[in-house]
Amino acid sequence: MLRFIARRLVGMAFVLFIVSILVFLIFNVIPNSPPAQRLAGKNARPFLVKSIEKEWGFDQSLPEQYVTMMKKVFNGELIQYSPRVPVDDRIKEGIPATLSLSIGAGIIWLFFGLLLGYISAIKAGGWLDRTITGLAVAGISIPVFLLAPVLIYFLTFKLEIFPNGGYVGWTEDPWEWLKHLILPWFTLAVLSIGFYSRVLRSNMLDVMNEDYVRTARAKGLSERQVMTRHVLRNSLIPIITLFGLDFGATIAGTAIITEVLYNIDGIGFYAAESINKLELPPIMGITLYGAFFVVFVNALVDIAYAYLDPRVRLGASASQ
């Protein structure tokens, strides 16, 4: 196990390095317009461009530029230029909102996804299964761009059940926090609820054909025990992996759109604001941190998977 973890961590370090190189290439090397001009923003004054050029060392060799960039990122010296605010401060301000949104949505989609998938699998072929499958396909196909405007229009403007967007801190007023987040949570979760219920259903149906399930039945266990103890437990292992990956991807990506649609002042909202102003330093910071986060979560997920399913780590070391 330790050997597996060590190998996986080395792999992670390698990917992190590649990620940083890619970000460097995207922002500093892509030819055609001087990088300082791009970093300074749309209507930057010449002296700002000059000072950025010096600050980032754009007259030096590429490896030196790379080191300068990484130093800036890790020392928290990344700055957005109009107005001049350290990028890290803005990101830190956005973390509570983004985490509230993603964690809440994650809990909702895991709960409903598993519930619907389980019902669907034990009733496979019946009308309930077909209804859930139909709903799941619909849920997978509704883009957040459609779901959010529809929900906002009917539930917020017409029926006035929910507040109109925005974010209220958890510590300020827990009730308002909840009210502001219910719609965004469901918007973000619907796609995954559909997807997870489908995955769990097909996993469970695969597991039901395994010999050990037949053995369990032959032992005389009740159908309920067979389903929960043997089928469900073994079907959950891939789901845990999937959840880890999706949760990472949600924080570093999918949540952005939901945040914009509901005016939730999180990291994604900051990213969108920077896109519209063509402010590159925040986007550089968010991309790099987001990618680091995702790569890190992926490594954790792999390790957890190897822990839960010994075949993975044994297979990996056996192939060496």
């Binding site: 749309k42 997978i140 570093a252 990506g253 999918t254 990213a271 896109i275 995702v294």
Partner: protein, 364 residues
């Protein structure tokens, strides 16, 4: 993340030609695998219905210039801020002094402003919807083509040569796969927004739709290339490949002449699913402002424009969203239908769950 074309979608080795089960009805012995697949697909009513829906959407966006020239008499980017619209005896402002655009007129003004105006700029929403759909579909299909070509070439090379070629390609795909797609899409989109990029002889302008196409096709390549590689790996061990090599066929001949035709059904299924995912990605990029650039429209940009007027003109955001959903839904269902039709073994597996066939039939 959108619906990934998961590896489970992989058509088993041998493609449509191999391991066809006996058809339920008799009398199909003389037909080729493609003919059988077509028959299976046509029997799937839902998939056929959604294929027709998709065809209608394509026709709808292709008719954009006809509608613009002969019905709406305006272009997608033409503004009508200060103009008045004659509806019967009534005169209506396209945009009120408060900046509220006119609502859907349907045929009240002979089809002008059929869906109203898009914003305080007073552009014809219907014309923009049709042209925007063209852009969205074009980006989806072209990125799908590029992704498929990249994925097939990489998958063939990795799966056929194995060894270090495979290691390099697989590692690269793994890294690409583990990156947060949307963030990198945004990063590239904004970085190229000023000045564009030059790759060899090709120059791409900052606001060009080739920027999102480039981003989408690169980032979705691993999702298609990894299953294809897996399939090439198993195909490479088949007798017909050995036979071709024994006859003196070179690597290129074997890869493109022998293995590639057996990948056809996988490629077709992934292509349909891929277009759907591409369109969602494009919508996300454009919605955030890092994809299709104004004044051009795409369904994603139209939603972000329309969202600002959600209280007064909700349809401006909802209709483009509905179009995206219908297109993506139809492509996904057609893709699933194609998979069921082209890959009889997945059908057996499905039936095994409901208990009508032997599960052993699906064991790989």
């Amino acid at each position: 993340m959108a619906i990934d074309p998961q590896p489970e979608a992989t058509v088993p080795a041998g493609g449509p030609g191999a391991a066809l089960p006996a058809e339920p009805e008799g009398g199909s012995a003389g037909y080729g695998p493609w003919r059988l697949a077509l028959r299976r697909f046509l029997r799937n009513r839902v998939a056929v219905a959604f294929l027709i829906l998709f065809a209608l959407i394509v026709l709808f966006v292709l008719a954009a210039p006809l509608w613009a020239d002969h019905v709406a008499h305006t272009g997608p980017n033409e503004t009508h801020t200060l103009q008045k619209l004659h509806v019967g005896d009534e005169v209506r402002e396209v945009v009120t002094p408060e900046g509220k655009p006119i609502g859907p007129q349907l045929f009240a003004a002979d089809g002008k402003f059929f869906l109203g105006a898009d914003s305080r700029l007073g552009r014809d929403e219907m014309v923009r919807l049709m042209y925007g759909g063209r852009t969205s579909l074009f980006i989806g299909v072209v990125s799908g083509l590029i992704t498929t070509i990249l994925a097939v070439v990489l998958g063939l090379l990795a799966g056929y040569y194995r060894g270090w070629v495979d290691s390099v390609i697989s590692r690269a795909l793994d890294v690409l796969w583990s990156l947060p797609v949307l963030l990198f899409g945004i990063a590239i989109g904004t970085s190229l927004a000023l000045g564009g990029v030059t790759i060899g002889p090709i120059h791409i302008e900052g606001g060009s739709i080739w920027v999102p196409i480039l981003i989408i096709s690169i980032f979705y390549t691993p999702y298609v290339a990894r299953p294809i590689r897996g399939e090439v790996l198993s195909l490479g061990e088949k007798e017909f490949v050995e036979a071709a090599i024994a006859q003196g066929a070179g690597p290129l001949r074997v890869m493109f002449g022998e293995i590639l035709p057996n990948l056809a059904s996988t490629i077709i299924v992934f292509f349909a699913l891929n277009i759907a995912n591409n369109m969602l990605f494009e919508a996300a990029l454009s919605f955030l402002g890092a994809g299709v650039q104004p004044p051009n429209s795409s369904w994603g940009t139209m939603i972000s424009v329309g969202e600002e007027l959600l209280t007064t003109q909700p349809l401006l955001a909802i209709i483009p969203g509905l179009m995206i959903m219908l297109t993506v839904l139809s492509l996904n269902i057609v893709g699933d239908g194609l998979r069921d039709a082209l890959d009889p073994r997945s059908k057996i597996r499905f039936e095994a769950h409901t208990g009508t066939a032997e599960p052993e039939g699906a064991a790989v």
